[in-house]
Symmetry: C2
Subunit: 353 residues, 2 copies
DNA sequence: CTGAAAGCGCTTACAG
DNA sequence: CTGAAAGCGCTTACAG
C-alpha cells in the first residue's frame, strides 16, 4: 500500500521572505487584533481614522501597537487605496546648484506633511525626463517637474493621470510656480542706471529656455523704462565655460554693464574679463541671476537677481499636497518675488583713463 | 410579504479609486491574460522571469502587454515579495555641496540598475536622521547613509534589518565607502614643503566628525615625513563663516600654510585673510578638502584635496545592490583614492618685505 | 461602535 | 510549460 495522504499535515507554504533578516518579522494588524482582542478591521480603523472607534478600544489598540512596535506596511496600504504618500521630483541636473534649494524646499515640506520625496534626474534630456516621469507616475501620488525640458503636451498628458506641478515654467492648464522676474530686474537696472551706465548687454540662456525669454523680456522693459540701451547676446551653454566664451562678444558690444541668464555665466564671464585685465566693477558691471551657492565666493562677490528657489520647491510641494487633498484651484500659477542682491561685481563706472 | 432578497443582484462594491483621473484605469495582468488567452499566473511568469514560458506564449503576452500599455503595479508586486526595487539615501544636508555628487552618483547607478532612489535629509541632527532612517526602512530594500550623525550602535541596529552602506565613515560590521585621505594629503604636504613652507596649520572640523579625525591624522603623518611642523586649530563650524572666524587663530599660529577640514572653511578663511590685506599665496598658502562646486570660483582658485564623491555615491549604491542580490562580502570597506588638485591658493612663500 | 468578508494586483509553491 | 489557488497586509462598504 502506498503511504496514506494526510492533507492536514501537508507542508504549509513557506511564508514570504520577511524584511527582518534576524528574528521577529514585522507585526501586522492581525497581531494587534489578537493582543487587543478585537477584529483586524477595527484595528485598521483605529489606526487610520481615530474617532470612529470607542476611546477604550482605541487605547487598547494603541497600546498593543506600541508594544508590538507596529509599523504599517505602506505597500499593503497602497494596494487597496491607490495612495502612496509619496511624491516625485524631477530635476534637470542634480549637480546644478539652481536645484539644490528647490530640492530642499520640496523635501522639507514633504517630510513636514508626512510625505516621502522620490528624486530623479533627467540629465538635461527631454527623453530621459519623460521616461523618468512615466516611471515615477506608477509609485507616487503626484509629481513636481523643476525646469522641465519636455514639451507642453507631454506635461499636460502626465497631468491628466495625476497631479503635476511645474517649477520655473508656465504650462497652460497645469499649476506652476514661477519667480516673477520683474521686481528683481527693475531693481538691478535702476541700480545700473544710477551708477552711470547707459548700455547694458543681456547674455541669454538656452534657446528653449522659457525662463531665459522671460528674463530678456524683463531686461528690455526695465531698460526702456530707465532709458538705457539693451542688447542681447547669445551664449553657447549656460555654464561657467559658456560665460568665458561670451566674453569677447561682451567687449565687442560696447556695453558697460552685463546681465546674464544665470550666475554660472556671470562667474565665467567675470573670470575671463579679469584674466584679460579688466577691473570689475570699475570698468564693467556684472549681474547674475539666481544667487546660487558660491555666487559670493568670487572676487568681487557677484551681484545677482535672487530667485527664492527654496520657496519655489516648498510652494510647489504645498500646491501639490493641496491638490491631493482636494483643496486649491486646479491650475493656479504661484508667483514668487525676485530681488536684487547687491554685491561687489556691479557699481559705478570709473571714467576711462 | 417583504421583498425577496436577491443576493445575486446585490450592489457590487464600488471599485477602489483608480489612479487615472480620466478614462481607462491601468491594465492588470488579468487584462493581459484575457487578451492573450492564458492564465494570469502565466502572464506573471512571462513578465518576471522570461524563459519559464514557451516562446510562443511569451510573445503573445508581450504583445498583449504592449497593446494594453501595461505597467506593473509596484505595490502589488512588493506585497507578496517584500522587494521594492527602491533604496534610500540619507544625507546630513541637502544644500551642502559635498553631498551633491554623492547623490548624483547614487541616483545614476540606481537608475542604471532599475532601482529608484528615495532621498531624505537629517538636517545635521542625529535624531532626525534616525527617524528618517526608520521610516525609510519600511519602504526600501536597502539604505545608504552619507556621513551619518547617529552613533555606531544605531547604524548596526538598522543594518540588522536590511542592508545598509555607510559613506564617509567606518562602522565596524557594516559595509562602508571611505575616501582614503593619505595619497591626497601627502601630495599636498609635499607640495607645500617643496615651496618652502615649514609650519602648517590644520583647521579641524566638528569634534564628532570621523572624517576630520582621519584628516588630522593624515596631516600629522605627512608633516612628520616631510619634517614640517604641524599645529591643529579648532573651528566653530565647518562653513564659510567658520573659516572667517578662525582667521585670527591662523595668523596667531605663525603657520605659513593651512589645510582646512573642508573647502568651505578654506574659502571663508581666504576671504577674511584677503580682507585683512594678506596676499594668497604669496604670504600664506591655503589648501581645502573635497573640491566642492565653487572651489574654483575664488581668486585665486582654491587648491584642494579632492575626494571622489561621485564615486563614493556610485560605489555605495553598487555595494548595496550587490548585497541585495546576494553577491559581495557582507562588510567589506571600499576605499577610494583622494588626489591633490593644485590651483592658485597655494604656492611659494615670498620673502617678507 | 464593531465584526465578517471581499478585494486591491501581484507572486509562487503545487500539481499536472 | 501552464493552470488553479492561496496568500502578501491592508481598507472599506455592508450589516448589525
Amino acid at each position: 500500500m502506498t503511504e496514506p495522504k494526510t492533507p492536514e499535515v501537508a507542508a504549509t507554504r513557506a511564508p514570504a521572505k520577511k524584511h527582518a533578516r534576524d528574528g521577529k518579522p514585522n507585526a501586522t494588524i492581525y497581531d494587534i487584533a489578537k493582543v487587543a482582542g478585537v477584529n483586524p478591521s477595527t484595528v485598521s480603523r483605529a489606526l487610520t481614522k481615530p474617532g470612529r472607534v470607542s476611546a477604550k478600544t482605541q487605547k487598547l489598540i494603541e497600546d498593543a501597537a506600541a508594544e508590538l512596535n507596529y509599523q504599517v506596511n505602506p505597500f499593503a496600504r497602497a494596494l487597496p487605496t491607490g495612495r502612496t504618500n509619496t511624491f516625485g521630483l524631477i530635476v534637470a541636473d542634480i549637480t546644478n546648484p539652481t536645484f539644490f534649494d528647490i530640492i530642499r524646499g520640496a523635501e522639507t515640506t514633504a517630510t513636514l506633511r508626512d510625505y516621502t520625496l522620490v528624486l530623479a534626474e533627467s540629465a538635461e534630456s527631454a527623453v530621459t525626463e519623460l521616461t523618468a516621469a512615466r516611471r515615477m507616475m506608477a509609485t507616487v501620488d503626484g509629481l513636481i517637474l523643476a525646469s522641465p525640458r519636455m514639451n507642453d503636451d507631454d506635461i499636460r498628458r502626465l497631468a491628466r493621470d495625476k497631479p503635476v506641478v511645474v517649477i520655473n515654467r508656465e504650462v497652460d492648464g497645469v499649476p506652476c510656480v514661477v519667480p516673477d522676474v520683474n521686481k528683481g530686474i527693475s531693481e538691478a537696472v535702476r541700480s545700473l542706471a544710477a551708477n552711470g551706465h547707459t548700455k547694458v548687454a543681456f547674455v541669454a540662456g538656452p534657446p528653449q529656455s522659457w525662463m531665459s525669454a522671460r528674463r530678456w523680456d524683463g531686461v528690455q522693459a526695465a531698460c526702456e523704462w530707465s532709458r538705457l540701451e539693451a542688447v542681447r547676446l547669445e551664449s553657447t551653454k549656460p555654464t561657467v565655460d559658456g560665460g568665458r566664451q561670451v566674453a569677447r562678444d561682451v567687449r565687442a558690444s560696447g556695453a558697460t554693464a552685463v546681465l546674464t541668464y544665470n550666475d554660472l555665466l556671470a562667474i565665467g564671464l567675470m573670470q575671463e574679463l579679469q584674466a584679460a585685465g579688466m577691473v570689475v566693477p570699475d570698468q564693467i558691471s556684472i549681474v547674475g541671476f539666481d544667487d546660487i551657492f558660491g555666487a559670493d565666493f568670487t572676487t568681487p562677490p557677484l551681484t545677482t537677481v535672487r530667485s527664492p528657489l527654496g520657496k519655489c520647491g516648498a510652494g510647489a510641494a504645498t500646491l501639490l499636497l493641496d491638490l491631493l487633498h482636494g483643496a486649491g484651484e486646479p491650475a493656479a500659477t504661484l508667483r514668487v518675488e525676485t530681488e536684487l542682491v547687491l554685491r561687489g561685481s556691479s557699481g559705478r563706472l570709473l571714467p576711462a583713463g
